[in-house]
Amino acid sequence: MACGGCDYWEVDVYPIAVRVSRVSWLRRLAPYALLTLVLFLLPSQLSAQTDAREIVDRVDRLLRGRSSRGTMRMDVVTAHWSRSMQMRIWSLGTEYALIRLLAPPKDAGTATLKSGEDMWNYLPRVDRTIKLPASLMGASWMGSHFTNDDLVKESRIIEDYDIEIGYEGARNGVEVWEFVLTPKPEAAVVWGRIEEQVRQGDLMPVWARYYDDRGELARSITFEDFRSMGGRLVPARMVIRPADKPTESTTITYLDLEFDIALDASFFSLRRLQSDRGSD
C-alpha cells in the first residue's frame, strides 16, 4: 500500500460527506466539517503507519547501534552435517559490515565485506577476493540458512516494506505488537510478507516469520536469551528454521558485543577484508 491515508478518503470520508450535504442547514458548514474530518483522520492514520515504522526502526537500531563490534558463534544443523563457526563482526550503521571467521581452523580467515548493496568474500586459502554477483544474493551464506541477501538487504526493510500493526495486546501475559510487513509495489524483495512480534515493554523482538509470494511460511526466526551486552538489552541468541526442513536450523549466539565504538567507513575496505591486521 503506497498511501496509508488514501483508503480513508475513499472508504469513510466520502459517505459522510454525502450525508452531510443532504442536510441543507449543514451545507454551508460542510466544507469545514470535511476539512476537520480530513485533518483529524488523515494524520491519525499516517501516524499509525509512522508509529509502526518507527518502532520497527527503533528495534532495528537498538540491536545494531550506530556502530558495533562483537564475537558470535554460528551453529548450523542440516540433514547432512552440523558445524559450528566462530566469527568476529564489525558494523557501521546499516551500510557497512565485516565478518571474519575465527574457527573452525579450515575456514579461519574467510571473510565477508558488505558495503552498501555490494558484497565481497575473501578466501584465504587461495588469497583471493570475490565480488558476489547479483544472481547469487539468494544463495546460502557460509552454508547457513541465511542468504547473502539477508546480510545486504536487511538494512532496507524500512524502505522496502509497508509496516502495519497487525495485533496489539497481550500474548502469554506479555504486551506485544505484531507487525505485518508487506513489500512496496516497486520494491525488489524476496519475501511476500514478513510478520514480526516485538515486546512492548523493552522493544525486544520475539520472533519473525517470512512468507513467500504464495503466502506460505518459508522460514522463521526466534529471538532468545535476552541479556545486557555492551550496555544494551539484546537477544543473545537467534534461531532460524526453514519451514520446509523442520530438522534444520542455524543458531547465532553473541558471545560479546560492544556498541557505538569508534569506526568509520574507511575501516570497511577491501584491504581490511584481506588482512585482519589492526582490525581489533
Binding site: 548450523v76 558476489l132 554477483p133 552454508g143
Partner: protein, 419 residues
C-alpha cells in the same frame, strides 16, 4: 478362360501407348522416391536431434542413486555417504551388449571468478579418459584442450569465458559448497574453452577432472553422482536400462537406471510426432498419385471400349476384363516401384554417407532443446520403404478398379454398332 491370358493382355497393353505408360510410371516412381527420401531425411533429423540431445552431455543411459533426480541433491551419491566401487559399476554397465562406453560424473554448483568478474557455474567432474566415450562436449573445443586428471584444470563454455574474460592459461578461483558444510575453494587453470552451441551449456557449465571436484567438495573418490553410458542406437537404450536394472542389483530401490527416454521425454514425444507426420506424408503423396493413375487408366479403357465390347460379345467374362485392367495397373506399379527403388536406393546410400551440408545457408538451430545441424543426412527408412511399396501397389490397384469396372460394363451391341 484362365487368368493367364488376362495377365498377358494387361502386360501388353502397357506397350500400346508407351508415352502414357512412361508418364504414369514416372509419377509413381517420383511419389515413391519423394516419400522414402523425405522420411529418410526426417528420420535423419530426429536421430540427429536425439544424438545431440543425448550425446553432447547426458549420454543415452544414466545410473544414479534413486534419490538423486530430479533435485540433483549433491549428498545423494551412488551407494550413499559411503560411496561405491565406481570401477565395478562402470564394468557392469559396459558389460551390457548395447552399451559402448560408460563414465563416472560428479556434479556441483558454485562460482568461478577471474579478476573482478564472477559468475555462477554448474560444475561437472569428469574422467578425462572415459568421458569422450560417452559425450561429445570435450570434442567441441574452440580453444585449448580438455582438463587432465590429477590437475587443477577447468574447461569452461565459450559464453562463460566471455563473461569472465578468460582464455586458456588463465588462473581462476573456483568456489563450491562442500558436502561437509565448508566452502570449498581453490585455484584452477583454464585448460580450454568449449562451444556446444547450446546457450545454457556454454554459459553455465564447467568441466573439471573428477578427482579435483571431489577434493573441492570433500567427496571421497568412491562418491559419484552419476554413471553415464553411451548406447549407439538410441532406441536400444530403454531395453538396456531394464537389463542393467537387474544386472546392477538395482531392484532394492537404491539405484535408478534411466534411459534418455525417461530423462528427455520431450525428445521421445518429438520422435513420435514425426512418425505420425510420416503417415500423413504417405497418404498425401499416394492420394495424389491415385488420381493420376486413375486418369490414365480411364483414358486407356475409353479408347479400348470397342475391344472390350468385342471380347464381351465373344463371350468373355466381365471379371476377366476387370482383371486385365487391374493387371495392367499393377504392372505399371511394379515398373514404377522398380524405377523408384533404383533411383531412391543410390541416393539414400549417397546422402547417408555423404550428406549435403546446408550450414552455409541456414546455420545451426535448436529443436526441442537439442542442437541440430542442417546436414541433410538420411537414415535408412526400412519400414517406410516397404510401407511405401505396398502403398504404391494399393494406389495402382485402387486407381484401376473404377476404370476396370466401367470397361466391364461396356454394352457390346451399342458400342460395336457405333452408337
Amino acid at each position: 478362360m484362365a487368368a493367364r491370358p488376362w495377365w498377358r493382355i494387361g502386360w501388353r497393353n502397357l506397350g500400346r501407348n508407351r508415352r502414357r505408360s512412361l508418364i504414369t510410371i514416372a509419377a509413381l516412381a517420383v511419389g515413391y522416391f519423394s516419400v522414402v527420401l523425405l522420411v529418410g531425411w526426417w528420420d535423419g533429423v530426429v536421430v540427429e536431434m536425439i544424438n545431440n540431445g543425448t550425446g553432447i552431455l547426458s549420454g543415452q543411459l544414466q545410473v544414479h542413486s534413486a534419490a538423486y533426480l530430479p533435485d540433483r541433491n549433491v549428498y545423494e551419491t551412488i551407494g550413499g555417504p559411503d560411496g561405491t566401487d565406481v570401477t565395478a559399476i562402470i564394468a557392469g554397465v559396459t558389460a551390457d551388449p548395447a552399451v559402448e562406453g560408460a563414465a563416472p560424473r560428479v556434479y556441483g554448483g558454485g562460482l568461478v571468478s577471474f579478476g573482478n568478474a564472477t559468475t555462477a557455474a554448474a560444475f561437472l567432474g569428469i574422467d578425462p579418459e572415459l568421458e569422450p566415450r560417452v559425450s561429445r562436449l570435450m570434442d567441441a573445443l574452440s580453444s585449448g584442450r580438455p582438463p587432465a586428471r590429477g590437475t587443477n584444470e577447468i574447461l569452461v563454455g565459450v559464453e562463460m569465458a566471455r563473461i569472465l574474460g578468460v582464455e586458456p592459461g588463465a588462473e581462476v578461483v573456483v568456489v563450491a559448497p562442500a558436502v561437509d558444510g565448508s566452502l570449498g575453494n581453490d585455484l584452477f587453470v583454464v585448460s580450454g574453452v568449449f562451444t556446444s552451441g547450446l546457450a545454457d551449456l556454454d554459459r553455465t557449465f564447467a568441466l573439471l577432472p573428477i578427482d579435483a571436484l571431489q577434493a573441492l567438495m570433500v567427496l571421497d573418490p568412491g562418491r559419484v553422482h552419476e554413471i553415464a553410458a553411451a548406447v549407439p542406437d538410441p532406441w536400444d537404450a530403454p531395453a538396456a536400462a531394464t537389463r542393467l536394472h537387474s544386472a546392477l542389483g538395482a531392484t532394492d530401490g537404491a539405484l535408478a537406471v534411466e534411459s534418455w527416454t525417461d530423462l528427455r521425454p520431450e525428445l521421445v514425444e518429438y520422435a513420435q510426432l514425426s512418425q505420425s507426420f510420416q503417415w500423413v506424408l504417405l497418404v498425401i503423396v499416394f492420394g495424389m498419385a491415385i488420381f493420376g493413375v486413375a486418369n490414365t487408366m480411364l483414358m486407356a479403357t475409353f479408347e479400348r471400349r470397342h475391344e472390350f465390347a468385342l471380347l464381351l460379345a465373344l463371350g468373355a467374362a466381365p471379371r476377366g476384363i476387370v482383371w486385365s485392367v487391374v493387371v495392367e495397373a499393377i504392372a505399371l506399379g511394379a515398373i514404377g516401384l522398380l524405377v523408384g527403388a533404383a533411383v531412391t536406393g543410390p541416393v539414400l546410400v549417397w546422402w547417408h554417407n555423404a550428406p549435403p551440408d546446408l550450414s552455409w545457408l541456414v546455420g545451426d538451430f535448436t529443436m526441442a532443446g537439442a542442437l541440430v545441424r542442417p546436414v541433410l543426412r538420411v537414415e535408412y527408412p526400412w519400414s517406410m520403404a516397404v510401407q511405401s511399396a505396398l502403398a504404391l501397389f494399393a494406389t495402382a490397384a485402387l486407381a484401376a478398379l473404377y476404370p476396370a469396372m466401367r470397361a466391364a460394363r461396356v454394352p457390346p451391341a451399342d458400342t460395336l454398332s457405333g452408337r
